[in-house]
Symmetry: C2
């Protein structure tokens, strides 16, 4: 195998990932808004990964993982479990490489995310919406097909791919003082923090998590990896829990983790829709929710925010539900 | 007066407008989508004026008009009537120049558009939702304040400003074969057609209009300027009627005008939200609606579409109404 996974993710791996994937993904725009700057008291730079291929940053990690496989590893396809965006991203990357993608999805995944996987040619297998059921189904498919397992976040090549968003962001806006990033399983914030600290050690990297799925917040502040038995948040992309690997990276590279309420997430999402005129899903609005809620003192600084994705059912918007 | 209006709009005026306004507006992105290309059978390039300042292309024309005034003309402010986007654009341009803006708005304008005018510091005067009432109120304000009247479309400097979107689009995508543009009062398509034909005479410029407000379609095909007594369309930005000036420009520079149904407009709008992940208002989706409806044979060509704006009430989406 010429493409063996590195044991640990570094800035060099993230640069390698960017070279590998940059012609297969969008270089997403960085948006600004005088109105949101006035509201927040800082200068905000939104990295619009909702405008990424398949509508989420997950295109980066999945594409890097699939194209890091040797021909021999790739031959029988790839398999994963995912609430949605990683699934569509892996299906797309597999299609680009001409190999099959087997996708385990919780049976309560949003319709828009299921449709996106199908559009990319992924083969969906539904399971109960628990982490145990997801992992069991993926393990079985792995055994049946011999496909390479690409974990949605506990994978060095995936983490390196996710970090490429921050490479681009800091290239476009080198004056950033702080980067705010949602935390689910920790893949994005791991890549974000490694890229940011590698390029600019003085920068602050702060994770933001829904209070109803605050395993990373609890783990970070207690120093012990902890889980939340029944994550409960509208931010469906952030219900996963940290792995040993992502927890270790976060402890080493992240400055703080804060939580936000469901109300702040919906308010942040609506402000982004109304003012920036772009669609973010609830998970994608979580970083900005920390500013809506006043959880972070940005002291007039230059703030990068990763808008992670824009896939949701337009018939079920949080402000039109009865 | 050193800034007298030109009698006629030319490519040179549009270039002058761009030089005048380019540091006061966004250079909006041009978005593409493999999914929408596959559906339409061409290569589509969406000029995202919904991501423009105040969420609409109207920022271009209003800014050019306000900054084309001499100091003496500008001193007592500006006045206009508008269903919304031109209003917010004029209020913003006046704020940038430090002069008052008096805005006549129909009393059924969307809340989001009213809020946008207020955010920009415009002074709103409401009127009945007819063109006659709008013009009467604006004339009265003009008499009372001495403010300079900036018509939303029947104004050479406004038309030149609107044309700057196409300058940028053709600079980014010189290979375009056709440009599709919504038609309301005709200011945007006038600037679009003058810019497009001036830069690339072989390009086709096609106007698209809601069937319930098809005065431009009827006028274009009959050769006589015609009105629609009671325009009825969800595309609230396209209810205006052509002026003698915009009709003359259209006759000279536009290749065709087609109409689209309300259903196609809503379907186009939803596809843009779902696939491009950006917010367009109904008027903004009208150009793409012509492709949804199969009204234009694009023969696999490179198609530019102007997405005109993204301001609408998020509580009243056409697919969540009872």
């Amino acid at each position: 195998m010429t493409n063996a996974s590195p044991a640990e993710c570094t800035l060099a791996h993230i640069r390698g990932a960017h070279a590998r994937i940059k012609d297969k993904i969008h270089r997403t725009p960085v948006m600004t808004s005088e109105t949101l700057d006035q509201t927040s008291g800082g200068k905000l730079f939104f990295k619009c990964e909702n405008l990424q291929k398949i509508g989420a940053f997950k295109a980066r990690g999945a594409t890097n993982a699939v194209f890091s496989l040797s021909d021999d590893e790739a031959r029988r396809g790839v398999v994963t479990h995912s609430s949605g965006n990683h699934a569509a991203a892996l299906a797309r990357a597999a299609r680009l490489r001409g190999i099959p993608a087997y996708i385990v999805m919780p049976n309560n995944s949003p319709q828009a995310k299921q449709a996106s996987v199908k559009r990319q040619g992924g083969k969906i297998e539904f399971c109960e919406p628990t982490i145990q059921a997801r992992e069991a189904a993926a393990t079985r498919l792995f055994a049946e097909t011999g496909a390479a397992f690409v974990h949605p976040y506990d994978n060095v090549n995936v983490i390196a791919g996710q970090g490429t968003a921050t490479l681009e962001l800091l290239e476009d806006v080198p004056t950033l003082d702080i980067i705010l990033c949602p935390v689910g399983g920790g893949g994005l914030i791991s890549g974000t923090a490694i890229a940011a600290k590698g390029l600019k050690p003085s920068i602050d990297v702060v994770g933001v998590e829904p209070v109803g799925a605050d395993d990373a917040f609890q783990s970070f502040h207690s120093g012990q990896l902890q889980g939340v038995a029944h994550p409960n948040t509208i931010a469906d992309g952030l219900r996963g829990k940290l792995s040993e690997r992502t927890f270790a990276i976060i402890r080493q590279n992240v400055d703080d983790i804060v939580t936000v309420s469901e109300q702040s997430i919906v308010q942040a999402m609506r402000s982004i829709w109304e003012i920036l005129k772009i669609i973010v899903e609830p998970s994608g609005a979580v970083a900005y929710a920390a500013l809506v809620e006043g959880k972070i003192d940005i002291r007039g600084g230059n703030v990068g925010l990763i808008l992670t994705g824009g896939n949701l059912d337009l018939d079920e918007l949080p402000w039109t539900k009865v």
